[in-house]
């Protein structure tokens, strides 16, 4: 290699140049294509490149690390590494009373805080054999469905953002702001509130809430039409999402996938219909199903789910029963603040509940709700004390993420991004 630099290039170079100049550009391109087709049949002749997608990545929906083996643009293998957001929520719940644990559990899957608490409180209420009053059940349904809408709006905005459709991000967050205003009005916090309590809801609807909610519900269908106008018949969107991320339904069930990802493949599994909880059986709504199970079907399905959620909230609001917003059992539920000034017994109950907490009879319970991502379950084990002995959250994002690996084999890198978006995973739920 240490040849002195003279005017004449070495013989090898001359040969290559002569070869290259023998063909016109079109002919040269044809020869390259021919070689590609010929070599494609020889697997492994091209070195696969292993790259890191994440944990800091704009398109991985949070701190997900995918060690990707790429053959050009084609994904040969992915190896998801999770745990970058592991917060030790389950361990910390064991050190808090049942009442305090609500604030921890709600921060798990941060896009569906109400669903986290719903699963948890249903499990604790099951162990306590405590009945939730009908008004509280309807209020829970209203807040849950609003949460479903706001979660799907985040999914819509971020999925569009990842594919380069940035406009939809601003549009969907505009509506999400209105939903968050409603949360703030009733629960005091935009996200991560502790609105559901063991026994019902912590507060009733404040004045002005119903008007505002009805205004939101009135304009929402038109807004969803607007989003569909932007995307549903958009050729770029269709090109990028149709046929992407298809797995057979049996494999999805075997992988434990639930929620829109499973329903897009045609499997009718919605826990609100199959195992109704919290008065969902009173409402008339449809469960949209897909046919092919690709990313486009999942998109259409989530848009329809938003519309159905609007219908459910309208029905719940119209049929809202009178009554208390939380159960009456003073051993479990805090007494209303107005009573604390007059009743000594209430004061003692309040004191004991806040300092010691309430004891839950020994046993274990598993209750799951239909969160925007799938089956969100809570497994609570009690040893008869005031603190949960074990609180495990079965998070749908954790389970659905397992489907990414079979989906991604042989797909383009760009399609991998679409698949991650269509699975709608939230890393807070994956890592807990």
């Amino acid at each position: 290699m240490a040849e002195p630099r003279t005017g004449t290039p070495p013989a090898e170079t001359e040969r290559v140049i002569a070869e290259a100049e023998a063909f016109t550009p079109a002919e040269a391109l044809a020869r390259v294509r021919e070689a590609e087709v010929r070599d494609a049949d020889r697997p492994g002749h091209r070195e696969a490149m292993t790259i890191n997608l994440g944990p800091q990545h704009p398109s991985t929906h949070g701190v997900l690390r995918l060690i990707t083996q790429l053959d050009g643009e084609i994904v040969r293998e992915i190896h998801p590494v999770i745990g970058y957001l592991h917060t030790g929520i389950e361990k910390q719940c064991e050190n808090k009373t049942f009442w305090q644990a609500i604030t921890l559990v709600t921060r798990m899957d941060y896009l569906s805080p109400f669903f986290n608490i719903h699963a948890y409180t249903l499990a604790v209420e099951k162990l306590l054999d405590l009945e939730v009053p009908p008004r509280a059940q309807y209020l829970r349904v209203i807040m849950s469905e609003l949460n479903r809408i706001s979660s799907h709006l985040v999914w819509l905005g971020t999925s569009g953002l990842e594919l380069g459709a940035i406009t939809i991000f601003f549009y969907s967050y505009r509506e999400r702001e209105k939903a968050l205003d409603l949360f703030e009005m009733i629960a005091g916090e935009r996200m991560n509130s502790r609105y559901f309590q063991v026994g019902g809801c912590s507060d009733d609807m404040p004045p002005g809430f119903e008007t505002r909610l009805r205004a939101f519900l009135d304009e929402m269908p038109a807004r969803i039409d607007e989003y569909e106008d932007l995307l549903s018949k958009n050729p770029i969107w269709l090109e990028r999402t149709k046929g992407v991320g298809v797995l057979p339904a049996e494999q999805l069930i075997d992988l434990g996938v639930t929620g829109p990802a499973l329903r897009a493949a045609g499997v009718d599994l919605d826990l609100r219909k199959r195992t109704p909880y919290s008065s969902y059986e009173h409402f008339d709504f449809q469960v949209p199903l897909g046919t092919s199970g690709d990313a486009y079907d999942r998109y259409l399905l989530r848009m329809r789910e938003m519309r159905e959620s609007v219908k459910i909230v309208e029905q719940a609001l119209d049929g809202l029963p009178e009554g208390p917003h939380i159960a009456d059992d003073r051993k479990v539920v805090l007494p209303p603040r107005s009573e604390l000034a007059t009743s000594m017994e209430s004061l003692i109950h309040h004191f004991k509940l806040v300092t010691e907490g309430f004891a839950v009879p020994e046993g274990e319970a598993y209750v799951s709700v239909e969160s925007p991502r799938g089956e969100l379950g809570c497994y609570v084990v009690s040893d008869g004390g005031p603190k949960p002995y074990r609180c495990h959250m079965r998070d749908p994002s954790f389970v659905n993420l397992q489907a990414l690996r079979p989906m991604a084999k042989g797909a383009y890198l760009a399609d991998l991004i679409v698949m991650i978006g269509s699975l709608d995973g939230v890393m807070g739920g994956v890592d807990r």
Binding site: G83, E90, K91, D254, T275, F398
Partner: protein, 157 residues
């Protein structure tokens, strides 16, 4: 004994150790060695519990079996739920892996291994999933401290 319990016992004698019905939930305790066979039986028709919702564990240091692993299964036809339970043992806790029966058990069992130290035999890839790979100890065990920092208030500094 419940119907399901009777069916399992008939198909695999000695598999059912105990049965509990509490608050409308059926829990069947399984002999640890026969766990995989019971899983395969329960997944197939007529019971057809095709969806494994989750695999979790609870640590009872005072019990001889110590680690109680629970399997929550769901049937799509009947919308019925069942909980299978097995004790893994105190020293070298181990259970047969059901990842060959339900593919979803893969990550769940990895999480149980990571958090509790229960090994699952014949698992395709039993490594830590949530904690860093070089972490010492199993955080969700009862004898593992919660950790964290002592909170110091500004007037104590």
């Amino acid at each position: 004994m419940s119907e399901i319990g009777a069916l399992i016992e008939a198909a695999l004698p000695g598999a059912v150790v105990d049965e509990i019905e509490h608050r409308g939930e059926l829990t069947i305790e399984i002999e640890p060695g026969k766990l995989r066979e019971v899983a395969a039986y329960v997944k197939a028709p007529p019971l057809a519990f095709a969806l494994l919702s989750g695999v979790t564990c609870a640590d009872f240091p005072d019990e001889p079996g110590r680690f109680r692993v629970a399997y929550h299964v769901f049937s799509l036809e009947t919308a019925g739920r069942l909980r299978l339970r097995a004790w893994a043992g105190a020293l070298d806790p181990e259970l047969p892996s059901v990842a060959s029966v339900w593919a979803t058990a893969n990550w769940h069992e990895r999480e149980v291994f990571d958090m509790f130290g229960v090994r699952f035999t014949d698992h395709p890839d039993l490594t830590r999933i949530l904690m860093p790979l070089d972490w010492d100890g199993h955080p969700l065990r009862r004898d593992y401290p919660l950790g964290g920092e002592e909170v110091i208030f500004s007037d104590e500094v």
